[in-house]
Amino acid sequence: MTGTIELPTRRDETWRYSAVERLPGVPLDNWRTIDVASGDSFHDTLTIVDSDETSPTELHRWRVSIGEGARCEIFAVLASAEYARLEVEVTLARGAHFELGGITVGGRDTVREIVTRTIHAEPNGTSNQTVRSVHWGHGTGNFLGNIDVVRDAQKTDARQDFKGLLLEKGASVNAVPQLEIFADDVKCEHGASIGQMDENARFYMAARGLSPEMARRLLVQAFLGDALVSLHDEEKRERLMRIALDKVDKYL
């Protein structure tokens, strides 16, 4: 693409809840391209954590193409930056699989979001996306997930599951699942729910001697766990979980 890129506004569907005011000066056309060849397997994690290398605005745009029978797994924890966004645009060929496990955590007035566009372009593709968001203060967590199933992509099996947990009044999470299905023999599931910490569970845990902080940590860990279930590398799974939990502990 040539010429000036227009800055997105909140009128754009996929930037509805974004901190668009932070975009000027940020290179928008900086897409990372990932091509997974037929039969191959690709795996990557993205963690945005408090460090000197983290910018106030962390924009990560990934364009993924998964070849026939290939597999792509992405796990992400967005736990830092004033505005953090992971955007994944993925196109699946015949029999390909896309796996996404995402976590956003944050307080103050940070915005952390995961935006996916999953294009099932050929038959027999499968995709599974699980995103969990825990926010407090005036923090915002978003998951916008678009699934396109083209006319020929029969036997597609696409799943999307989002849950948000609000630890304090004032925090918010937004879930926007969007399905556009043009094939007639497909399975597409999506679910989204938002809630608070279970007070019964908290009292039960307190009655067994757990401090409110420890009870919260265990409940948040249980809540986030779903997003990392399909990450089979135990060491990585524990590292990602620790990043998210430490963030929650540090600010509450």
Partner: protein, 248 residues
């Protein structure tokens, strides 16, 4: 050991406990019986410190401390165990992790060393065997998918692991078949029938009291203790009903 004096408590502005006075000595098992709505579960929750249960008057002294000054988790660390009528399911948290964290939190609060993973598992298996609960259930999430009877046995396994000084057991016998009732009753005896320990046993039925023989039985009605007697009082209640016994 536990001294409740003129306790008044309310939920959402509605008075439930209305001048309850009761003392339980160390080594004593004290059964509380009473009709529905008498305030039995409220008493248990007030002792446990459940949010929303407001004490408006009176005092509770537990082993020389003012119990009402302590947070729920501090009460547990002080040696109080609350057995729930409806144990809570916690998806995503395994029994092993939950109980080990709980035990070690209590030990830490008491200035004791934490129990290592191996020692903890040994203890947990031992207590599961005592309550005839499949030790594999410890790997499962807390109470999730447990039957009513399994939940109650799991409560007693928790009690065995935490080894409290005083247990408030809220209808631990509800939802149990006759065999499970015996197992649970014997578990209570094994874990809590020791000098220096005490039990407040809230129940509707005489049956559990045939296994866990109480030293004293009190009747709770309309938020206060209206009668206290020996174990015979429970039999009398079973035969004649609350109205007749309370009128006598």
């Amino acid at each position: 050991m536990l001294k409740i004096d003129n306790l008044h408590a309310e939920i959402d502005g509605k008075t439930i406990l209305n001048g309850l006075t009761l003392t339980i000595e160390a080594g004593e098992v004290h059964a509380i019986m009473g009709p529905n709505g008498a305030g039995k579960s409220t008493l248990a929750y007030v002792l446990g410190g459940r949010p929303g249960y407001e004490v408006t008057q009176g005092s509770v002294e537990f082993m020389g401390q003012n119990l009402l000054d302590l947070e729920p988790h501090e009460r547990a660390a002080a040696g109080l165990f609350l057995g729930f009528q409806y144990p809570v399911e916690i998806p995503g948290v395994s029994n092993v992790q939950f109980l080990r964290e709980a035990l070690n939190s209590q030990r830490k609060a008491r200035g004791e060393e934490p129990l290592a993973a191996g020692e903890f598992l040994k203890l947990a298996k031992e207590k599961s065997a005592l309550l005839k609960l499949d030790p594999d259930m410890l790997k499962r999430h807390v109470n999730l998918g447990f039957s009513g009877g399994e939940k109650k046995r799991a409560e007693m396994v928790q009690m065995g692991i935490l080894d409290p000084k005083f247990a408030v057991l809220d209808e631990t016998d509800s939802g149990l078949d006759i065999d499970a009732l015996r197992v649970v009753g014997e578990g209570i005896n094994e874990i809590m029938r020791q000098p220096g320990k005490g039990v407040l046993l809230i129940t509707h039925y005489q049956r559990l009291l045939e296994v866990v023989r109480p030293d004293k039985v009190s009747i709770l009605s309309q938020g206060r203790i209206v009668k206290t007697g020996g174990p015979d009082l429970a039999t009398e209640l079973e035969n004649e009903g609350y109205d007749a016994v309370m009128a006598a």
